[in-house]
């Protein structure tokens, strides 16, 4: 593993030349010292691989009702979780929440899952959430921006102590050109989406014991707030998009017919590839 992460460095140092240029390949081969054809092929295939980690970030805020004071009207929790509540700590090493400067120690560092932070206050502000990754994943951090929301929208009724305000966003961390070691570590982890691996990639046997133990610690499936978590359905979104595309395509077809009619001859305009 250290070997392969070392071989990644040329790419990270000069991101501009990290395309499949001969130079970076040579570096890789030199480091690997086993430059047979198969290996080279594999490296190329790995370059095209794209691993994604579906995450959800946001906040849940409870109004304190009678206990609310001027400066502490809400108790809120801001968090980053796996989209289906898997443990994302296989990829994420540390999460830094940058709070408003009026808080004591506004920079809060969370080094272990669940990556969340609870506070109380009265004001809404933007929280910068910085995700740091394990060394074999990526050296660069990723920033998320979440606007802390405490007060419900006007149309959703008055503030209530029982029903919290929940605002969550779905996103995916996309990791390109993963290192072999990382790939081997996460290829069957439920928190990570790995596309079909290239043939001939030597996969280590899964390690169920350690996995199970880790899960117990890091996932958010039994989270105390999990009843408020939003369910993000990809299928719904795809369905909606498919319907919209169908509608648009039907109109395109109709317009083409009309154009032909106006022309009075077969269409000789630009060929449009899609449909």
């Amino acid at each position: 593993m250290p070997q392969s992460s070392g071989s990644k460095k040329p790419g990270t140092d000069q991101p501009d030349v990290s395309g499949p240029t001969p130079k970076s390949q040579r570096t890789k081969m030199a480091n690997k010292s086993s430059d047979d054809g198969d290996k080279k092929n594999l490296v190329n295939k790995l370059k095209d691989l794209e691993i994604s980690v579906p995450i959800v970030y946001g906040n849940i805020a409870f109004w304190l009702g009678k206990k609310a004071s001027e400066y502490q009207s809400h108790k809120w929790t801001v968090y980053v979780r796996g989209a289906s509540n898997e443990d994302i700590s296989v990829v994420v090493k540390r999460v830094v929440f940058q709070l408003h400067s009026s808080f004591n120690n506004p920079t809060r560092i969370i080094d272990s899952p669940p990556f969340e932070l609870s506070e109380s206050g009265w004001g809404e502000f933007e929280i910068v959430i910085t995700l740091h990754f394990h060394n074999d994943v990526c050296e660069k951090p990723v920033h998320l921006y979440h606007h802390l929301k405490l007060y419900p929208e006007d149309d959703s009724g008055p503030m209530s102590v029982k029903k919290p305000v929940v605002v969550e966003s779905y996103d995916e961390i996309v990791l390109t050109e993963p290192s072999e070691g990382f790939l081997a570590r996460v290829h069957n982890n439920p928190a990570v989406v790995v596309p079909r691996l290239p043939l001939g990639f030597p996969l280590p046997p899964p390690v169920p014991l350690e996995d199970a133990e880790k899960k117990k610690r890091g996932d958010t499936k039994d989270h105390s707030l999990s009843q408020w978590f939003t369910n993000f359905s990809e299928a719904d979104e795809l369905l909606k998009l498919a319907a919209a595309r169908q509608q648009v395509q039907a109109h395109i077809a109709r317009l083409r017919r009309q154009l032909n009619l106006v022309d009075g001859q077969p269409q000789q305009l630009k060929p449009v590839p899609d449909i």
Partner: protein
């Protein structure tokens, strides 16, 4: 001198106010060690807690002084006063803040705002000697100076009250000319008044007239014209950028692509773009084939990032795919997405969703382009028919057929790109209006078609 001052003057046991004040004091301000005194919590929060210029500009001592004076006995009394700006010694009353029973002395505080302009007075002799002007009679000039004195040089009012019709500029020019001439004539030597503003800064009537004309032109710009201007500017900026990019291929973030392809394409785009903004050319610059190089380079640069967020990737791809489309077209694509009930930014941006979203946007671009082409063809056809002048027997069926087409491509559930949306400007309504009129009145069908051209 606000309501709080007045209330402080009242007896302390006065019911609710005292209670309110006490409660306010009893509440410990939690953030007091962080936020400076005298600034409300909300204002402090707006500054982001940084040491903002706002704090420096608000004199904290001002608030302290107020608390120091609390041991003074402040009352408000209804007292008479005289206004030195009045000549009639009228006696009026007002409320005055009285500290420790001593009423304030000195002039009425608003008297200083009574300003007068010293308008030059000329004698008949002086007029004969220096001020004769073929455009102005003595009576008119006298009247002008009377009004200047009466209205303190408020030329808009003077022009309104002036008996003969003179523009504001003419009045100003005459007044300043006369005043300057008198000033110079009365001075012992011209050098003594050379520094006087009236002599140094001469009133330039031509410049003033031109300035006001340009100003009114800018102000009377319609929204439509403004939009067009903005579009032309945006287009120009895009062309400049493409040219720049074509000039130094090193700037392209595309190491793995052969340089010839993007360069050639960009150049072609520049040529077409800059050719002319007529609808004819617009068709050709249409976004049917989004820059392949743009998309490829975006993919490459995303990959080289090693890590990025899916939403960021989608944003970049959307930008690349619509890089060849104009600002208005992009807006129309987004309008269409909304009409279709699709979020501009997917709620669950997985890889598949983002790919579909991109495809949908591309298809909408294609659709809008086809719409444009159809409109163009129709306009072309109609102008051809107009040229042939006589209504041939073949035309009526063709027209009614076109009416049919229009109806078919105005979708039932939504309108594409808002082009036929009701809320757009008048011109856009024309095609819809035509629908009902087309079959009955052939003459009217020409006008709306022309409107469609600039759509």
């Amino acid at each position: 001198m606000d309501a709080k001052d007045i209330l402080q003057g009242l007896p302390k046991n006065h019911s609710a106010i005292a209670y309110l004040q006490n409660e306010k004091k009893s509440r410990p301000p939690k953030e007091s060690q962080r936020k400076p005194d005298g600034i409300s919590r909300e204002v402090y929060a707006l500054t982001g807690g940084l040491a903002p210029p706002l704090v420096a500009s608000v004199d904290v001592n001002q608030f302290k002084r107020r608390t120091q004076t609390e041991n003074e006995k402040v009352t408000w009394q209804w007292l008479p006063f005289t206004n030195s700006a009045r000549k009639d010694n009228l006696q009026l009353y007002h409320w005055v803040r009285v500290v420790n029973g001593v009423p304030p002395t000195g002039d009425y505080s608003f008297a200083k705002y009574n300003k007068h302009v010293d308008v030059v007075k000329y004698t008949d002799e002086e007029y004969e000697k220096h001020l004769t002007d073929p455009m102005w009679t003595k009576e008119e000039t006298d009247k002008l100076f009377d009004l200047c004195e009466l209205f303190d040089l408020r030329f808009i009012v003077i022009a309104d009250k002036f008996p003969s019709s003179r523009t504001v500029e003419e009045l100003k020019a005459r007044y300043y000319n006369v005043t300057r001439t008198i000033l110079i004539a009365r001075a012992p030597s011209p050098g003594d008044v050379a520094g006087h503003p009236l002599v140094k800064e001469q009133y330039n009537i031509l410049h003033e007239v031109e300035r006001k004309r340009s100003l009114s032109m800018v102000l009377s710009h319609t929204k439509h014209q403004e939009r067009k201007d903005a579009e032309v500017l945006a287009e120009a900026k895009k062309i400049l950028e493409t040219r720049k990019a074509a000039k130094d291929p090193d700037a392209l973030e595309l190491p793995s692509m052969p340089d010839a392809i993007p360069e050639g394409e960009d150049k072609a785009a520049v040529v077409v773009d800059s050719a002319s903004p007529t609808p004819n050319n617009h068709l050709m610059t249409g976004p049917v084939a989004p820059h392949v190089s743009e998309i490829a380079s975006t993919v490459a640069s995303l990959r080289s990032m090693r890590v990025y967020l899916r939403t960021y990737g989608l944003e970049q791809m959307v930008q690349a795919a619509s890089s060849s489309a104009g600002l208005r077209t992009i807006k129309r694509v987004e309008q269409t997405l909304q009409d279709l009930g699709v979020n501009l930014k997917p709620r669950v941006p997985t890889k598949a969703v983002c790919a579909e979203h991109l495809e949908l946007r591309k298809e909408i671009l294609t659709l809008l382009n086809l719409q444009k082409q159809l409109q163009y063809k129709e306009a072309e056809g109609s102008s051809y028919r107009d040229a042939s002048y006589t209504e041939t027997p073949g035309t009526p069926p063709k027209r009614s057929q076109r009416a049919d087409q229009d109806r078919t491509f105005v979708p039932d559930s939504f309108s594409f790109g808002g082009e036929r949306g009701v809320k757009r400007d008048q011109k856009r309504k024309a095609p819809a209006a035509r629908l009902s009129e087309a079959p009955s009145s052939p003459a009217q069908s020409k006008r709306p078609r022309k409107f469609k051209l600039d759509g």
